[in-house]
């Protein structure tokens, strides 16, 4: 247990510092916006008096550090400010979007876990066959393909050419679970392809070295059936890297989801980020940036911890 804590504390501290750095960076980038925020918001209705009033209300004339600390204090307390565009609390805007993205992410992960494990084991076990090189190249193509291209191609084939799935993932209109799956099918598949290809490539090395290890050979020479050898002797020792890769994939999901949500017009948190940056809706940008950065950093932290904890030397003690 002490070992786990020794692993956790410094990394947690670093993660928090990083999060703070992100908040600073985002705040600073937003600060940098040319033009006066107040006039921008008021748009046509801007008069010098109204602008001044708004500026005071938004503390725009205070020194930046004060504003940053004000915002940070509020953020930590759960007050995420108001959206300039929608004139609603940011929280109200963000939560449903977050929920949507989580649904999509969950579906993708459900599909990804068995697929990546199965494909990973398959490519490792059959690495000497004639089709191995071709399969490997195919998987590499899967990692190389940008997600938005994969999404677009899927739309072309399965929504335009063959009208099997809807090209736009309009989740709001969904009323039942099967309908949900059908609507979200294409974006889910897009995400899954990218994650699976990456995972299989990353796992290859460790899986193969496990399969070629002395103890797996020993298990074979003990006359154990091959399925058993893979199941009880090979896989448990390859799971460490597999878990790490999965957590890294979750971290990636935060970035990848932005593009995929955009392709399918999916009202998730990624779309919200892009839209809010586009119109420079500062409070929303900051909130969403913190959430996504938080997940990204948290997932990376998780990957590090998982790698450390999966060592059997710790499980026993």
């Amino acid at each position: 247990m002490r070992y786990a804590l020794r692993l956790l504390i410094p990394r947690l501290a670093l993660a928090l510092i990083t999060l703070l750095a992100v908040s600073l960076a985002v705040f600073w980038a937003v600060e940098w916006l040319p033009g006066d925020a107040a006039t921008r918001i008021l748009g046509q209705a801007a008069t010098p008096e109204r602008a001044q009033v708004l500026r005071e209300k938004m503390h725009l004339d205070d020194p930046p550090l004060t504003r940053y600390l004000l915002w940070l204090g509020g953020f930590v307390r759960g007050d995420w400010g108001e959206s300039l565009v929608a004139e609603r609390p940011v929280l109200d805007l963000v939560l449903p979007r977050l929920r949507n993205t989580l649904i999509l992410a969950t579906l993708a992960l459900i599909l990804y876990v068995p697929l990546s494990l199965g494909l990973g084991v398959f490519t490792a076990v059959f690495r000497d066959r004639w089709f191995a090189a071709g399969l490997s190249a195919l998987i590499l193509a899967g990692t190389a393909m940008p997600e938005f291209v994969t999404g677009i191609l899927l739309i072309l084939v399965f929504a335009v050419a063959l009208p099997w799935f809807p090209p736009l993932a309009l989740i709001e209109r969904v009323k039942s679970l099967p309908e949900l799956v059908h609507t979200l099918a294409l974006p889910t598949i897009t995400l899954t392809i990218a994650m699976t290809a990456y995972a299989v490539r990353m796992m290859q090395g460790s899986l193969v070295s496990v399969l070629e290890s002395d103890y797996v050979r020993m298990a074979t020479l003990k006359g154990l059936p091959p399925v058993r050898v893979i199941q009880r002797h090979a896989l448990p020792n390859a799971l460490g890297p597999a878990l790490r890769v999965t957590v890294l994939n979750v971290a990636w999901l935060i970035g990848g989801v932005v593009l995929v949500e955009n392709v399918f017009n999916f009202p998730g948190i990624g779309q919200l980020l892009v839209d809010s940056i586009r119109v420079l809706d500062t409070a929303v940008v900051e909130a969403v940036a913190m959430i996504t950065a938080g997940v990204y950093i948290g997932a990376n932290l998780g990957a590090d911890l998982a790698a450390g904890l999966l060592n059997p030397r710790l499980r026993a003690s």
Binding site: Y215, V216, K222, G223, P226, N237, P312, A316
Partner: protein, 336 residues
């Protein structure tokens, strides 16, 4: 032992030839190796690293590593040719009738499984027993190999055991199925000298108790002298000499064997080495004839071109050198 004929041999290896696929070509690693192992005896397989002895040992399981092939030969065991058996048939034999005591127990025990489980699952896989009976049998085996507190040990993971304990576990695993033949691949190299001695004593006792045959693969002649009844010496994938242990050490006939034995440091004559082994084994430079010729101090021109089969000299002594007689005369009898 001299009454043994191939009829009652436990296993008979016939002209075994193995190639490895390396650097876009087939490289010969074992060349027409033939020997038999008789009931209750330990045959030592000696030679330097890379001579093909481990490959030969593993071949007894019908096992070849990926990227290799059995080009020729047969291995007869219980009326079957192990080299032509299907994987399913081989699985029944491996771990049951023919068992392996591997070289490095630290890497051959699965790190993620408790050691007791590893034995139990092997027992179950071979339908020897299962469940509670298997558990008890495992603990019993652990006790037989001299592990203190076998019940506690069974629950441990490999990394929680010392080298000597791991080796005993591995031996227990090999004995679980009461095998006819045990193949030992340098089982004591990874151990310190004291533990090594203890393990060797254990192996001798167990073998005597159970009447198993054994193939003992090692490069350590000192261990070989203690353990083996007969010794087969390999060089560059070929057998160069086969003889009962005492006979081999007292009267080595092949120049290579002489060199090997002379190279073993002895307490009585620390700085003497009448015959040195020159040079290194280089696979690319092997001649058509005797493979040892490049390093042989007695080599003549014909040696390089004429392949050397095993010639039988005397009752049980075989040597693959047509000059053995003149060599013996020149050398005198090797210092014994």
């Amino acid at each position: 032992m001299s009454d043994n004929t191939s009829a009652n041999a436990v296993v008979q290896v016939e002209a075994l030839t193995v190639d490895f696929w390396e650097r876009q070509a087939w490289l010969n690693v074992v060349n027409r190796v033939s020997f038999s192992i008789y009931p209750g005896e330990t045959l030592g397989l000696a030679g330097e690293s890379g001579c093909g002895k481990s490959t030969t040992g593993y071949a007894l399981f019908g096992y070849r590593r990926p990227g290799s092939r059995f080009r020729e030969g047969a291995i007869h065991f219980e009326g079957r040719n192990l080299l032509t058996q299907s994987e399913t048939e081989l699985r029944a034999i491996r771990g049951d009738k023919i068992c392996l005591v591997p070289q490095n127990p630290a890497t051959t025990l699965t790190p993620s499984m408790r050691v007791g489980q590893q034995v139990v699952k092997a027992l179950e896989a071979h339908h020897i027993c299962s469940g509670r009976e298997a558990d008890e049998r495992t603990i019993d085996l652990f006790a037989q190999v001299g592990l203190p507190q076998p019940k506690a040990i069974a629950k441990r993971y490999p990394f929680q055991l010392s080298g000597g304990q791991q080796q005993r576990v591995v031996i227990a695993m090999a004995l679980a199925g009461n095998p006819t033949l045990v193949v030992l691949d340098e089982p004591t190299t990874a151990l310190d000298v004291t533990t090594q001695a203890r393990i060797l004593k254990l192996l001798a006792r167990l073998q005597a108790e159970r009447g198993m045959s054994a193939l003992y693969v090692t490069h350590n002649l000192g261990v070989m002298a203690q353990v083996a009844d007969r010794v087969a010496v390999m060089y560059a994938g070929e057998l160069v000499e086969v003889a009962p242990t005492a006979e081999l050490f007292q009267n080595p006939l092949h120049p290579y064997t002489r060199g090997l034995i002379a190279a073993v440091p002895r307490l009585s004559a620390p700085n003497e080495s009448k015959v040195k082994l020159r040079g290194l084994l280089r696979r690319e430079e092997l001649p058509q004839g005797c493979r040892f010729a490049p390093r042989c101090p007695f080599a003549q021109f014909e040696c390089f071109t004429r392949p050397q089969p095993l010639i039988t000299e005397g009752k049980d002594h075989q040597v693959a050198c047509w000059l053995w007689q003149s060599v013996a005369e020149k050398q005198g009898v090797a210092d014994g």
